[in-house]
Symmetry: C2
Subunit: 379 residues, 2 copies
């Protein structure tokens, strides 16, 4: 009997770096991948069986793309979920399920989901416009988030004083209590159609101070076993309440009092799982394939402690990307550079990442800082 995923065409909405790394995994399984992306030079363009240029938010484009696939998944949330729902209704396998993507697209719905399901998360107030944000000055310090289309640090701002309120978003969003957290963790969980679930070990994320993007990541996280168990159990709770099929990154805050709050979730491969390519028995990209194609889920154990550094376009440079310092970086043992095939760099654009493996956890931070100094993406 042949496991039928070998005959299936997997369609991915989005052809960026996440799709690119999914493809690198899929090659080992003979899985045919079709990609839809608006950018004619998307990172996946040359390495898939079929590349279609088109708008991810357009009903007809997504529907027609999906009709030629057997299983449809995403690598970005901002897609037309009505088309995905129609495809699912017509018998296509769409994972994560369209109603879950739709809910996650809107941070207001996401927060209500946490509240309705007793999933601990920062207190919040829904706001319809700037006036409503300003009317809640008593809620400061807070984080003001746009309901929709925030991505990679866009659509999020910290409001500390009444003066900051002048910059508040004038669109449906929410105000979330600013959490005085000790650490930020991420747990990536996977669930297949059978309801089998597994979690990767927690990782600790450190964000860029101004770009609001993950800058460094360390695995394992420097936390107690009790906190690890709590974080994993929270991640399982989220994916099980959603009854989601696929992989889900659950970003969390560990507060100074030791509580864990869910910050945000992403139902796809995530920046906080890039190190798994080299550091874990199964990578998050392969796990994504396994979960949406109903394969047995892979072992998630860490093979070696790791750090991950995002390679962001240097501030002040826009144009054809030039990568400095590659030779020096890849001369080091256990350094893995991943470039995303983007010709053009912009300030803080995600151009690649580097994973560093080292049995000695205590040197990982130092090595990660060094790599960040060695490799620069300029124009």
């Amino acid at each position: 009997m042949q496991e039928n995923y070998q005959q299936k065409i997997l369609g991915i909405l989005g052809g960026g770096q996440l799709g690119r790394m999914v493809i690198q995994s899929a090659i080992s399984y003979n899985i045919d991948i079709h990609i839809l992306d608006p950018d004619p030079n998307a990172p996946c363009k040359d390495i898939c069986q079929n590349f279609i240029q088109g708008k991810l938010t357009d009903f007809d484009t997504v529907y027609n793309f999906g009709k030629n696939c057997d299983v449809i998944t995403i690598e970005i949330e901002n897609v037309n979920t009505e088309a995905l729902q129609r495809l699912a209704d017509e018998g296509k396998e769409v994972f994560p399920q369209p109603h879950i993507i739709k809910m996650i697209q809107d941070k207001r719905l996401q927060k209500q989901f946490y509240k309705n399901n007793n999933i601990p998360s920062a207190d919040f107030i829904l706001t319809a416009n700037k006036e409503e944000v300003k009317a809640n000055s008593g809620f400061l310090p807070a984080v003001n988030k746009l309901g929709r289309e925030g991505y990679d640090g866009r659509g999020v701002q910290v409001l500390k004083t009444k003066k900051d309120l002048e910059n508040a978003f004038d669109a449906p969003g929410l105000l979330e209590k600013l959490i005085d957290f000790e650490q930020e963790l991420s747990v990536i969980v996977a669930r297949n159609k059978q309801g089998e679930t597994v979690a990767f070990p927690s990782v600790e994320c450190s964000f860029h101070p101004t770009a609001n993007l993950v800058e460094f990541l360390f695995a394992p996280a420097n936390i107690s076993i009790a906190t690890e168990e709590k974080a994993k159990s929270l991640a399982f709770q989220v994916i099980e309440k959603l009854e989601m099929v696929g992989i889900l990154a659950v970003e969390m805050f560990v507060t100074r009092s030791g509580d864990i709050l869910v910050n945000e979730i992403a139902p796809r491969p995530h920046n906080s799982g890039h190190h798994t390519i080299e550091a874990n028995f199964t990578s998050q990209f392969e796990q994504h394939l396994r979960s949406v194609l109903n394969m047995p889920l892979g072992n998630t154990a860490l093979r070696c402690p790791a750090a991950m550094v995002n390679l962001l376009g240097e501030d002040g440079f826009t144009g054809n990307a030039i990568v400095e310092g590659m030779d020096k970086a890849i001369s080091q043992k256990g350094v893995y550079v991943h470039l995303y095939g983007k010709k053009v760099t912009k300030p803080f654009r995600k151009m690649g990442h580097v994973t560093i493996l080292d049995e000695n956890v205590s040197v990982l931070k130092k090595r990660a800082l060094e790599i960040k100094e060695i490799i620069k993406i300029k124009a």
Copy 2:
């Protein structure tokens, strides 16, 4: 300063599984790959920047292909070396160098190279035709090898008795003393333009009794440190005498008296290095890229003991391939399946391989045998 390999187009002659795994590595470095292969459905077809269908042995085809590339390399030896030499003369970087490929293509020249350079290897007699083989019955038991176009077990036969002589090849070849070996090892070495050389740890190969193909491989090899040093030093000796740029697999016999003899060499990624994808800090495929693109060579240390099992088409089945047992295999921790994207299976065709990682060396053989029983390629 930008390291210029990021701007170079790498042309590969051959688009089979070796090229496919090179591409999986090259994606992480934004290296554009052009592929030339006679098979319109070659394993590399859909995952490279440019796929050209054409004969690898035709001068014009190879020359015209190479003109559009900056660096040209191979994943199979049976290519037109005159065209490669012309490209090199015209300033293209061609690695391994054409004259080395030409020498290795002919096992007669290979043997003379070993002899001329005091590289230990089995005694041999050059034979021009069947009559000359038959005239040397006193040299039996021996291995009769065709000079040219032997590949994957073809063009090699063992002659033990006078009766066997009736089957001798009737073409230029050689008779090699049958070595009563204890073990077969392979060492893959890499050398870049600067003359920097590194070796992967030795692996132990076990061959299929009839198909003359690697069936299992174990890393590390079960040998003493002294033998390991001797094997590595022999491999360095070969690549340095050749002054070759690229990677070179050196297959060796360990005789019952503890001597090491070079059996054959292959100037490209090799079946005996497939486990390095998961088992070593750097894979042989990345090392190939690093060596031909003059990047710093990668660390070759073993991260974890490993076994490799070739997935050969089952005897008795020809047609559209069906892979049985995938789910059962990939449910196991540390099992990595690599399928080569070949639609059609034939008896003993290389359809994929599986790497098994286990800290406990003593269970690797048992696990490898199990995987071989679990996964079957049928039609």
